[in-house]
């Protein structure tokens, strides 16, 4: 009855990425503020349903010196160089994260399968609820996409981590710098991954024409933001086709609820937000939750999981 006060139907935003239970499909992407416990807690409080930490290695790494970041209206370019204090210290940070109800996912790096599995073990011991293997950073030698662009190495690394942690929740984060991301996804699943994160940044560069100098100290870096969006959507669409039942997290250029819905249409179970944090702040999480609620309400849906299934094409 119009005009009569009606209690709006409760809307359930909960999402599921395999065994990972989320209070909404909006997670914080790796490398974005996830390097210290108080920042991680800030992201949770802003509404992120899960936090993926900065990628951690066994040893401390200093990363690259500035300039490490460039942005224009079309994309961001970064080459931070995976700085960090090493897994020993980082495990203490993880232990300081006091947020019982939301998953903490540690991004794990390594220069070898052994390092990946060792670091993964340490972060799980320190309380991480899952690991995301960074098989996709495009600008650090000997790791990331240098490993992650080869299906056999992907499988080997995932297998090593699975072997060390038979019951842990393992995600493999894939690179778009490949001709066939489906092959990389299949290799990860064969190695024992529970799910996939697609994608990390695309290799890219740029120059300051007046200075006649690269925009990044490293010479090149990774492209994220709007420019990455169509590429990431293709990756998820392709992975969903070749792996109909594998949990998939979409990441790349999510700024608005439409961007996120495109990922759900393509087949993602949840999305991560990175570069948009720069433009819209951490409050983007609250805004996306509100926007998704509105969308569900308008579609007369009460439950994100069902809504998402109906979006799929």
């Amino acid at each position: 009855m119009e005009g009569v006060n009606t209690v709006p139907r409760p809307i359930d935003l909960r999402a599921k990425v395999g065994r990972l239970q989320l209070d909404s499909p909006f997670m914080l992407a790796s490398g974005i503020l996830g390097n210290e416990h108080s920042l991680i807690m800030r992201a949770y409080r802003a509404g992120a349903s899960a936090v993926v930490t900065k990628t951690v290695f066994n040893n401390a790494r200093s990363g690259y010196t500035p300039p490490i970041y460039f942005e224009n209206e079309y994309y961001a370019l970064n080459a931070v160089g995976l700085p960090g204090t090493g897994v020993e210290h980082f495990s203490e940070e993880l232990a300081l994260v006091k947020e019982e109800s939301k998953p903490l996912i540690a991004s794990v790096g390594g220069l070898s399968p052994g390092e990946f599995s060792h670091v993964a073990q340490r972060v799980i011991d320190a309380g991480a609820d899952a690991v995301e293997l960074n098989l996709s950073c495009p600008h650090v030698a000997g790791t990331g996409s240098e490993i992650g662009s080869k299906p056999d190495l992907v499988k080997e690394v995932v297998f090593a981590v699975r072997d060390a942690l038979p019951r842990a929740l393992i995600f493999a984060k894939l690179t778009p710098n490949t001709h066939d991301i489906g092959e990389l996804g299949k290799a990860a699943v064969e190695g024992g991954a529970d799910g996939l994160t697609a994608v990390n940044t695309l290799r890219g560069t740029g120059f300051d024409v007046t200075l006649r100098a690269p925009l990044l100290s490293h010479g090149y870096g990774g492209v994220s933001g709007h420019a990455l969006h169509p590429v990431a959507l293709y990756a998820v669409q392709n992975l969903r086709t070749v792996l109909p039942d594998t949990p998939i997290i979409g990441v790349g250029g999510v700024y608005t609820i439409e961007d996120a819905l495109e990922f759900f249409i393509a087949g993602a179970d949840a999305v991560q937000i990175g570069t948009a944090i720069r433009n819209r702040g951490l409050q983007i999480f609250g805004e996306l939750r509100a926007d998704l609620t509105t969308r569900l309400r308008n579609a007369r849906a009460s439950d994100f999981l069902k809504f998402k299934e109906e979006l799929r094409i």
Binding site: G31, P66, E71, P83, D208, L211
Partner: protein, 233 residues
Amino acid sequence: MHLRSCNAPVPKEAPGQFVMAYLPRVGEVPLSVYYRRGRILKFLVEDYGGVSTKVVGVRPSSVLAVRGPYGHGFGLESGKSYMLVAGGSGAPPVINFIRTARKLARTRFTYILGARTADQLFLLKEVEKLGAQVFPATDDGSMGFAGNAVSLAESLLEDSHYDALYACGPESMLESARELAEKKKIRYEGSYVRDVRCAVGICGLCVMEGRGLLVCADGPVFTGEVLAAGIRK
């Protein structure tokens, strides 16, 4: 300590905000704007031995890229009296603050510059000309007050009332300035330094540890309350 200028259409900053200055093939450093007029920006750069050394060494003909301004500057209200404490390379944002704030009605400044020895004191005359009361402080007593800048601030605060204590300098100095302001129950703002790399609040490397605050995006100037509250703010 050198003075550098460069042309760049950088939007106008508030005193305390900073820019990232990129010297090709050398690196990029966060610098507080010390002076601006139209497209001319001036910085005071201390030679720390790394990229800053090279920046200090640039010839006037060199080309630098500047992006920004970033962050939040010092709060500014007319009719107040400010106790300003600078140490080392902390002077530029404080001087820029005085330059902006002196146009306001009934606004008073006391400026304390601390250094180890008299040689390291600079621009005192210039700040005097801006209308501030200027007090140097040296650890070795070679000029002005013998002792650190915050001790001098404390003794000045005994004598007369100030509405706020603003500070920029080494973190130990900022810590004692903050405690002093708390004790005196006056407003505190301090400009902090961390490992600023992206400068836009995305990489997390400039975190104020345990507080969930970013120097580049939430600072570099923080009030005493924000520092105390951290992410609970």
